[in-house]
Amino acid sequence: MAGLVIAAVPATGAVAADGDGTRIDWGPYKVGDVRSGYTYAGAQTRAMQDDDFQNPAFLWLERGAELWDTAEGAAGKACADCHGDAEESMADVATHYPIYFEDWGKLMNIEQRINWCRETQMQAEPFEWESDDLLGITAFVKHQSKGLPVDVSVDGPAAPFFEKGKAFYEERRGQLDMACTHCHVDHPGDLIRAETLSQGQANGFPTYRLKWQTLGSLHRRFRGCNRNIRAEPFPYGSDEYTNLELYVTWRGNGLPVESPSVRK
């Protein structure tokens, strides 16, 4: 699929030729006005993402595949023991997360689901945020939904959490006193110093960021964007960020799951 999209775009200078890229046929990476970070990325970065052999994130996918079959914890079980073939059991799971999780009375994202399985189902230690293991298994699970449209639900019991996420997105913070909207709603396509702003979509996470030289979670990105405006970040997996994740993910409903993407 990704190969076809690339073929539809002139090989060089596609973005430059069109200024802001709005008129380019981005295939599934653009749904109405909603555009994946892919469509703001440079040609080289896109090429890295499109070619499984060039995409550095595939090292983490391999680690994830290994973990899927590895029994750990007191229950002596592997993911595969309960979920079988990931290609089938996980086929569209990532398109629906974060979900409202009844037992917690709040939202749960994929990383939290995986650690829930480890703790309650496997009786194993949870993986640490940003560990290669959690990034790897998360990328592996999400990758099973690759190409399928994001479709999170924000009504019913999820609604109040969605509203909190939306409020966070629109709230100014930090010494620079800026909200997410100032960069990702008002100025996608514009340069902010050497960075081209995108719509700040979540569909590619975990993402291999060239600047990080590693895979990173969406919550890492949130912490970075908070820090850049000199705002105190929230902890990984905090309610604030999981609510924000639902709102940000919803903004990209309809975009294909790209995990693991490559970004500058």
Binding site: G174, H187, L191, I192, R193, A194, E232
Partner: protein
């Protein structure tokens, strides 16, 4: 980051906005130095004005595109009007994306190490105004 940022004076910013559009009184007794001001607008830890504005600073490669170009801004505004625009642009436009560079009140969840102090010192603001007053070439404005 905090280590490379110079410590600011402890006194909270104080200034008077007149008529809702200008701060006519300089913030310091020492007149602004335009050459220093040019440094502060480039410096990513200080003004970093270039992250949003285009300015006649050809040696810097990337100029932002999220705000008006400042090529002729010294012709457009008085020093007092520029002072308000740097000290607290939200007086003029409450929706503004532009940070208030000399304000500590009413901020939300400021990163540890930066609390209670403005982005720029009073003298840096004055230096920047002196620099902006030298920008008179509206013909070079790019947007």
């Amino acid at each position: 980051v905090p280590a490379s940022v110079p410590a600011h004076a402890a006194a909270p910013p104080s200034y008077t906005v007149q008529g809702g559009y200008t701060i006519p009184e300089p913030l310091t007794d020492t007149p602004g130095d335009p050459a220093m001001g040019r440094n502060w607008v480039i410096n990513r830890k200080l003004g970093n004005c270039l992250s949003c504005h285009q300015m006649p600073i050809p040696e810097e490669q990337f100029h932002g595109e999220t705000a008006p170009a400042l090529y002729g801004v010294g012709d457009l505004y008085s020093a007092g009007e520029l002072r308000l625009r740097i000290v607290d642009p939200k007086v003029l436009n409450p929706q503004s994306m532009m940070p208030a560079f000399y304000k500590t009140e009413g901020l939300n969840r400021v990163l540890k190490g930066f609390e209670g102090r403005p982005i720029l010192t009073a003298q840096q603001v004055e230096d920047i105004i002196a620099y902006l007053m030298t920008l008179k070439d509206t013909s070079k404005a790019k947007n």
